[in-house]
């Protein structure tokens, strides 16, 4: 039985979602739609997926009680350590699952888009693992600002194709990937977040749900209770938040906080705070909340972080925002940098720039001393060192 936060038969979460795709893609998307749940729920898939998550990806990722951060903010703060999984971010939970699905569907050529490069690396990694052909589309601007990840993809044998249109970032890389997919319908589009046409958002959410599945038993083990009071995650497309929220969605006692990138300030004109600036619209095949001008032209977003630099959010998040199930907050570039420096100094953990946004809302919250918070530490900051050092010296 479908729950409130699962898509209906047309792929809608409330009014958001669907599959707004050219007819050329219909058979591809239909093939996935017809098979994904059955594959995911099959014993064979679960065995392979769980096996790889454990031995290859390094799951469960720890749930770490951050003593010094907790002292500082006078609350009980746990960090879900997605930074420790193979390739350094939650993205691989999804790519491991999708590559197995692709395999079951007999696909051998994989395409993907990437912003921060983490999804590109995670895709190139599983393609190497499975001996598949891999092409990754990446905005020309992101190729520059996330150079280490470009090097990793190259070394993993992936072809990295620069997206040169629009803002030359994630949105444009996604356009190019979809365009290539239309032209090469035999390829499998291994999408990197809970975005795109149905069933991609649901498929990715189900694969990232392992995060909250673990949080539940880890919280129980540590505190005797499955539920924290609050879960905080950053939102680019929304996949790490979807994963961290998933098994708590129906449980309204658990507060969910989604943090968007405010760039130079929500109203500065240089921002990616979709929920604050967007309106209902269609992007990359789904109806969601979207930053657009009065004529529906998609606005070029801005964030210091290549993984949050996206003018939309996944349809589930649009619904979480619209239905007020999740609280949407945001953090500027500077707030994210400060939060990254703080986490590094007090806990010895260098977060990804994306992830840093989730930590940046702590000073803005009214915390209770007994409040139990889980922050999804979605990725590590190795890829962002150049940016950090630039601002550290400044």
């Amino acid at each position: 039985m479908k729950t409130k936060f699962q898509p209906d038969e047309n792929g809608y979460f409330g009014e958001f979602g669907g599959a707004y795709i050219p007819e050329l893609l219909y058979p591809n998307v239909k093939e996935i739609e017809d098979n994904y749940i059955q594959i995911i729920e099959s014993e064979e898939f679960q065995k392979e997926y769980r096996g790889l998550l454990k031995d290859y990806v390094g799951r469960p990722s720890p749930l770490y009680y951050a003593t010094r951060l907790s002292e500082k903010y006078k609350a009980h703060i746990y960090l879900k350590r997605e930074d420790l999984v193979h390739t350094g971010a939650h993205k691989i939970n999804n790519t491991i699952g999708q590559i197995l699905i692709a395999q079951k569907l007999g696909k051998t050529q994989i395409i993907a888009e990437t912003g921060a490069g983490q999804h590109g690396v995670a895709t190139a990694t599983v393609c190497a693992l499975m001996g598949m052909d891999c092409t990754v589309f990446m905005g020309e601007k992101d190729i520059v600002r996330q150079a280490p990840n470009v090097a990793r993809m190259k070394m993993l044998g992936a072809k990295v194709v620069p997206a040169t249109s629009g803002s030359k970032t994630l949105k444009d890389a996604t356009n190019e990937a979809i365009r290539y997919w239309i032209q090469n319908p035999h390829t499998f589009y291994l999408i990197g977040s809970v975005v795109g046409p149905h069933p991609h958002p649901d498929m990715v959410a189900r694969l990232q749900a392992i995060i909250s599945e673990e949080i539940k038993w880890q919280m129980k083990e540590k505190t005797g209770k499955e539920n924290p009071d609050t879960i905080i995650a950053c939102v680019g497309g929304g996949s790490n938040a979807a994963g961290a929220f998933y098994h708590y969605l129906e449980n309204e006692e658990v507060e969910l906080i989604a943090v968007e990138a405010a760039g130079l300030g929500v109203t500065s004109g240089e921002s990616a705070a979709t929920s604050q600036l967007g309106e209902v619209g269609i992007i990359h095949g789904s109806k969601t909340i979207l930053m657009q001008d009065e004529y529906g032209q998609i606005v070029e977003p801005y964030s210091i972080s290549a993984g949050l630099d996206y003018p939309g959010v996944g349809p589930l998040h649009a619904f979480l925002f619209d239905s007020k199930r999740a609280k949407f907050m945001n953090a500027t570039d500077q707030e994210a940098l400060d939060a990254a420096f703080e986490l590094t100094k007090v806990e010895g953990i260098i977060p990804a720039l994306e992830t840093a946004h989730a930590f940046a809302v702590l000073p803005k919250m009214d915390l209770r001393e007994d409040q139990v918070i889980v922050i999804n530490l979605s990725g590590r900051g190795d890829k962002d060192l150049e940016t950090y050092i630039k601002h550290l010296d400044a």
């Binding site: 007819e23 365009r179 619209g281 095949g285």
Partner: protein
């Protein structure tokens, strides 16, 4: 009866349709391009509504859209331009855009404007059939607007029959599984697909698009359908040879 369907009905075979991007190469070229195309004797024209993220278009059309948007084009201006030639222009028009433009402009407001410009056919490549059935069919019908569906070599027979049912203008037959962009020739595989569709004896007229770029591909397409649409090849010609090059381009397509 739908304007385009009527024309196709009258003319029968060898219909030539040209796609162009409004507001390109210059903001106010829209009317001139339509006029030239009309004079050159094309059968109908697809007016592209430039979009920031035209997923279903190839690089040529995408680039022309970017330029048009930089020129300052927007839906209000396009509709004003089309309005201004409503009486002078005799060539049937189709508007082609993306669903988000319609959504944001206001679905009804969009339909009113289309109709006001004397147009009754739209192509929205990212409008899927299920959304059409659940929502847009009733809306469009109430304005007398017909939606053009695309079919591809991979569209199932069942789905094609349904599309045939919904179609009052024409079915846009995608020549191959590829987004628009000039190719070279038409392959045996494509011909097999054309023949398969032809053998289905659909009630709707068929227009072939995607990869039609010259006299040879146009003529070949016309053997299997009521005509063909040229987009990228025309945009490239417009870019290189300007509005004064339109007549000879169209002539070149019609006669080798």
């Amino acid at each position: 009866m739908n304007t385009i369907a009527k024309h196709l009905e009258q003319k029968g075979r060898n219909n030539l349709s040209i796609y162009f991007t409004s507001g390109f190469p210059e903001l106010n070229d829209t009317q001139k391009v339509i006029e030239e195309l009309g004079e050159a004797g094309v059968d109908f024209i697809e007016v592209g509504l430039p979009y920031s993220d035209p997923l279903a278009d190839g690089p040529t059309i995408q680039d022309s859209s970017t330029i048009a948007l930089r020129n300052g084009i927007n839906l209000d201006i396009v509709f004003d331009q089309l309005m201004s030639i409503k009486d002078s222009n005799k060539t049937p028009l189709v508007v082609m855009g993306y669903l988000n433009q319609v959504l944001k402009y206001g679905e009804k407001r969009f339909c009113e404007k289309v109709v006001a410009c004397g147009i009754d056919t739209v192509i929205l490549p990212d409008l899927p059939m299920v959304e059409y059935e659940n929502h847009y069919k009733a809306l469009f019908d109430s304005y007398g607007i017909n939606n053009v569906f695309l079919i591809t070599p991979n569209t199932s027979e069942e789905r094609i029959r349904k599309i045939d049912e919904y179609t009052q203008s024409f079915i846009y037959m995608v020549a191959s599984s590829a987004i628009t962009g000039a190719k070279g020739e038409i392959s045996d595989q494509q011909i097999a697909y054309f023949e398969r569709i032809k053998a289905m004896n659909l009630k709707s007229k068929l227009i072939i698009g995607f990869g039609i770029s010259n006299h040879s591909t146009f003529s070949k397409a016309c053997e299997y359908a009521n005509g063909a649409i040229i987009g990228s090849a025309f945009i490239k010609n417009l870019q290189n040879n300007g509005i004064q090059g339109i007549a000879s381009f169209v002539k070149g397509i019609r006669n080798a």
